[in-house]
């Protein structure tokens, strides 16, 4: 299904079955802001029509870098019926525009045992540790999507010079708060978990709180910059977080402005 006459558009649309209870609408196969815009446009359109009572049987949607997965109840709707109802929304979404989110400055400790892979990464890239830190903290990242773990942000793009494949041997346990890089992306592990990315630092900001109306601190479309802090400062922040005295909003740099902000979307 050809989405339109935009010859330069990287969209190559596919609809894929993920079992009997989910459909994945794939706009492409690479990380590209144009594809992300299409995913988010379709996601927003589906949310709008569902709010108006349409698309019965849809349970939820999951936006990712370049595809949107629609979860449905096969007892409540049929795949072909659902796809027919989605088709006009899919066609419109291929021309989506990027939305702006909130801007954050998050503290990161790049020292000592908070940065177990820093030396190895620096060696592999042929630069000093200080250069790695400067490059990583000197870039503004887009939050492409959340997933993998509650509150886990996939952010990019890393400067070309910082790109490495995943570790050949993943860790069984990555400490909670670890700031990591792999391929062209950077991320923060909100929870202890297995992980195959390179660990450059530790961020004490709690990224997920089930008691909040929006449990994830970060949202797709947000922008993030990292601010290096010392080990002592990091420990103090961790203590403040543990005692409930750290309001994560203190690290909000700016709210979105303009008509294209996520706050103005339906």
């Amino acid at each position: 299904m050809c989405p339109g006459s935009h010859a330069s558009s990287p969209v190559s649309l596919r609809v894929l079955d993920a079992g009997d209870a989910a459909l994945t609408i794939e706009f492409g196969s690479v990380i590209d802001p144009a594809l992300l815009a299409a995913v988010n446009a379709l996601d927003a359109a589906i949310a709008r029509v569902r709010q108006a009572g349409a698309l019965p049987g849809v349970i939820e949607t999951m936006p990712t870098f370049r595809s949107l997965t629609v979860f449905f109840d096969p007892l409540a709707t049929e795949r072909d019926t659902l796809l027919a109802a989605l088709q006009p929304l899919i066609d419109a979404a291929a021309h989506g525009i990027p939305v702006d989110g909130r801007h954050w400055r998050l503290p990161v400790c790049y020292e000592g045992e908070a940065a177990p892979d820093l030396a190895e990464v620096a060696g592999a890239l042929g630069m000093s540790e200080a250069e790695v830190v400067a490059l990583h903290s000197g870039t503004e990242y887009l939050v492409y999507m959340l997933g993998f773990l509650p509150g886990f942000p996939f952010m990019g793009d890393l400067p070309e010079r910082l790109r490495l494949p995943r570790r050949s041997q993943p860790r069984v346990r990555v400490p909670a708060g670890s700031v990591a890089i792999a391929t062209g992306l950077t991320a923060i592990y909100p929870w202890e978990s297995p992980g195959g990315w390179h660990l450059l630092g530790r961020c004490p900001v709690p990224l997920f709180d089930a008691r909040r109306a929006a449990p994830s601190l970060l949202a797709a479309g947000d922008k993030v910059r990292f601010t290096p802090v010392s080990t002592d400062e990091c420990r103090a922040l961790e203590a403040a977080v543990r005692s409930g005295q750290a309001d994560p909003m203190q690290w909000l740099d700016a709210s979105p402005t303009g008509a294209n902000s996520t706050e103005n979307a339906a």
């Binding site: 007892l75 959340l146 997933g147 773990l149 509650p150 886990f152 996939f154 449990p215």
Partner: protein, 351 residues
Amino acid sequence: MSAQAELEIVSPGAFASIQDGGRRGHRRIGVPWAGVLDRRLMRIANALAGRDEDAPVIECFDGGLHLVAHGGAVKLAVAGDAAVEVEGADGRRALAPWRSVTLAEGEALRIRRMAGGRIAMVAVAGLFAPQVLGSASTYVRAGLGGADGCGRALAAGVRLALAEADASGSDRVLTPPPPADASPIRLVPGPQADHFSAAALQVLVGGDYRVTAEADRMGIRLEGARLEHAGAAEIVSDATVPGSIQVPGAGQPIVLLADAQTAGGYPKIATVITADLGRLAALRPGQSLRFATVTAAEGARIARAAEAETRALIAAIRPLPADGIDLVALYSGNLVDGVVHALGTEWRPLY
């Protein structure tokens, strides 16, 4: 002030946690559905205990679960292929599963072992757990759900306070119990079928795969014939679904279950259909399975047929007769060729 009944977890066995139907709507922020690995077992257990079908239950693995009633009578029901035992003042007696039982104060229920599948559900009248993001289901990694809302599996010594519940009334039984199903696990090819060699899907359905020791609520690692990739063994991360079969570089498949991460960068060769996830999850390490392909439409049809079967099973639940004859024990006992209830309706003359 009346005493409040409590259920003590003397032992959780291999692993036990409070689960319900799962929490929907938050995969986009990385929160998986969690919830019971087999909805049919949950619904039957709850129906036997007089609970709402989606009420929280104790989901347990293998044998070893040991529960004691305190402060009053506690009604509970076990659904699953379990050898159950009740211990009271006058000693121990075997109990068939697929029925409810009312424990008097101080009485214990044990699951000695599980014969077939390794998962059982225990429904408890009066059991409640706080809702976290819309569900009481336990998700340990992020501390969600469970008895206190903090996402902990059930541990020895935990006491579950039970709301006032009607523990009177006859117990109920499902007889005959659901038959075992050892047929192939059905899957729908894709979504990344094009990341695998042309032969890979045939390999996946062409032989046995063994459940390794790495099998839990997040997923099951299988061991068997290697699945060859066509090109890169990684993709740009996209959404996973329960039942996704990921294949990392080494070519061995991993089936994702209720607690799995919501996004992943390994190509997915196929997706197990909804109706077959429960019996797949119940396989224990060392057991083998085979796969078979179906279309998405067939998978949905099978889901609807399975729902009809579940409703029929629940409708077949009967009160345990007051004559005290435990038909289930008779039916499942190892007698000559079997036992029939001569006055049962199935033996009435047809004319």
